[in-house]
Amino acid sequence: MSKLSIREAINQVLHEEMARDDRVVVMGEDVANRDNGGVYGITAGLAEKFGELRVIDTPITESAIIGAAGGAALTGLRPVAELMFIDFLGVCLDQLMNQIAKFRYMFGGGATTPVTIRTMIGAGAGTGPQHSAILYPMLVAIPGIKVVAPSNAYDAKGLLAQAIRDDDPVVFCEHKAIYTEECEVPDEPFTIPFGQARTVCEGTDVTVVAFSRMVLLAEQAATQLAAEGISVEVIDPRTLSPLDDEAILASLQKTGRLVVVDESNPYCSMASEVSSIVVDRGFDYLDAPIRKVTAPHTPVPASPVLELEYVPSVADVEAAIREVVAY
């Protein structure tokens, strides 16, 4: 085991998987940049080690990056394409939504598209309205792709290895505000199966389902509230599609109360989705209304003051937990 940040864990997986399988290529804007390996240095060292035929710097051309990654995956490579910020999905959505996601289905099972799209999500870095969105609910709504959002370095390593080895298209969402979060990570390669939630901490009074960076907030809230005698169970689904709805329902059955914490905008969010699943299939377990803690229905502002107001806080999570517990 070594203490690694999320950023380091992702870099390590890319090295390991490229060494393990010659068909793995990394492509995108600035990925081969020898000085730092992209905006946050995630791909540092790959070009030196694996060469420019496998670590491919592209022009600023999101439709061609995503489309070519799909075409390369159809024809025998396992591309890891970088969509620098998930906001750029707006530039290239057709190639993901109408092409890659549908290849297998519309070709009657005759195609396999093992592509991984790594992309940065989230507010908190002052990156403003077009570099800070979450957007993963849009992708979860599309059949044919899988969506992953790790909240720590251990999961980032196991889930990214799984994404690269997976035979289906996977969008791997990296929250830019937690890249430096560290934890113990096994030195050897390993995978974490998709669709298996992690119980971050066990509790009996309320279930908090949190996604990506919000898991860290939920954990802090759980620690704070433990001192007040409120026992909080935090569930990190880790993969958004497939979603481990059974784990959520099982936890709810135990606690009877649910808070969902999601940095998405509120409508059609993961918070909405989890709430909907619970109302549909776990209504009898509920002893209190569900509370959703999300960003508001606004773009992400640039002002640090407004951004702080935008992103859910630990206090917001605590307030929601207190509310459902007091109901």
Binding site: T58, T61, G70, Q95, Y105, A111, R165, P193
Partner: protein, 324 residues
């Protein structure tokens, strides 16, 4: 360039098969036997055939919504295609793709595509695979004049040029972007492609030999690792955008005359290079094609529809799967 008699018969057979396949599909469509939209390729047959005769199963093409000709020229099975057009369970895409999504990975056919301009980035990806593996394969994107205006095509041109991909941009300028005459003069599309730094030629797409010879150069260039090429082949569209479009937006005199002057099949047969082809053999090929279509259509129309539970399969290899 030297043309063997057998190769010329083969070219004739492919063009004629595309023609008769589509005419038969048109009839069945008008009889209400085929669902959805179908887009006719008539008078553009020399482009698909002249281009794909240079490609093997290991090479790649990305096609368009007007893709039947490309599929046939690339070797997709006719009977499986007929089943797919009828959306049957045993269709080439199990009835889930239909006319606009025929694909066969084993033939390097990466899909017809219902998004105008959707294919070129995918073809660039296939070319990237060939470049990465260094296997000498090439990838070709068929692109209509309408699609030539899409940003995805510009991005694919640029990527192919920057990475020197073994790719051919095979433009088919049929002068109509859906229901609107393309205002660009002939040759402008190739000019644009050339501006990205690749050889680009404009030629008569109803002349099989012109297409065949230009594609020979482009394919050789790709196989030798010398980067992408573009070809703008002009061939006026015979039918409407889709079957049922009466083309009232076209001048009927011009349309009628272009239908005759731009028919690639008589032009091919009248070419001096085809002077050794025997009428009896041509007639035999025609008869074989019609017989195979009769049998195929009969079988396709009688074939089983997909089962309701097949709705749910083929979305993922394994939705909740562990590592492969």
């Amino acid at each position: 360039m030297i043309y063997s008699t057998e190769m010329l018969y083969q070219a004739y057979r492919s063009m004629k098969l595309i023609r008769e396949f589509e005419e038969r599909m048109r009839e069945e469509y008008q009889r209400g036997k085929l669902p959805g939209f179908i887009h006719m390729y008539r008078n553009q047959e020399a482009i698909a055939v002249g281009a794909c005769m240079h490609l093997g199963d290991e090479d790649y093409i990305a096609s368009t919504h007007r893709g039947h000709g490309h599929c046939i020229a690339k070797g997709c099975d006719i009977e499986d295609m007929l089943l797919e057009l009828a959306c049957k369970q045993d269709g080439i895409c199990k009835g889930k793709g239909g006319s606009m999504h025929i694909a066969d990975m084993s033939k390097g056919m990466l899909g017809a595509n219902a998004i105008v301009g959707g294919g070129p980035p995918i073809a660039a990806g296939a070319a990237l695979t060939a470049r990465t593996l260094g296997n000498g394969r090439v990838s070709m994107a068929f692109i209509g004049d309408g699609a030539s205006d899409q940003g995805t095509v510009a991005e694919a041109l640029n990527l192919a040029s920057v990475l020197q991909l073994p790719m051919i941009f095979m433009y088919e300028n049929n002068h109509f972007a859906e229901f609107t005459r393309n205002p660009k003069p002939d040759g402008r599309i190739a000019e644009r492609a050339g501006a990205y730094g690749m050889p680009a030629v404009t030629l008569d797409g109803t002349d099989f030999f012109a297409v065949y010879e230009a594609v020979a150069d482009a394919v050789q260039r790709g196989r030798q690792g010398r980067g992408p090429s573009a070809i703008e082949a002009i061939a006026s569209r015979y039918y409407g955008h889709f079957e049922g479009d009466a083309q009232q937006y076209r001048d009927s005199t011009e349309l009628e005359s272009s239908r005759i002057t731009s028919d690639p099949i008589p032009k091919f047969l009248a070419d001096s290079r085809c002077s050794d082809l025997e009428t009896a053999r041509i007639e035999q090929i025609d008869a074989e094609i019609l017989a195979s279509l009769d049998a195929g259509v009969e079988r396709a129309l009688a074939a089983a529809d997909p089962l309701p539970e097949q709705l749910y399969s083929d979305v993922y290899v394994n939705y909740r799967g562990e590592s492969a």
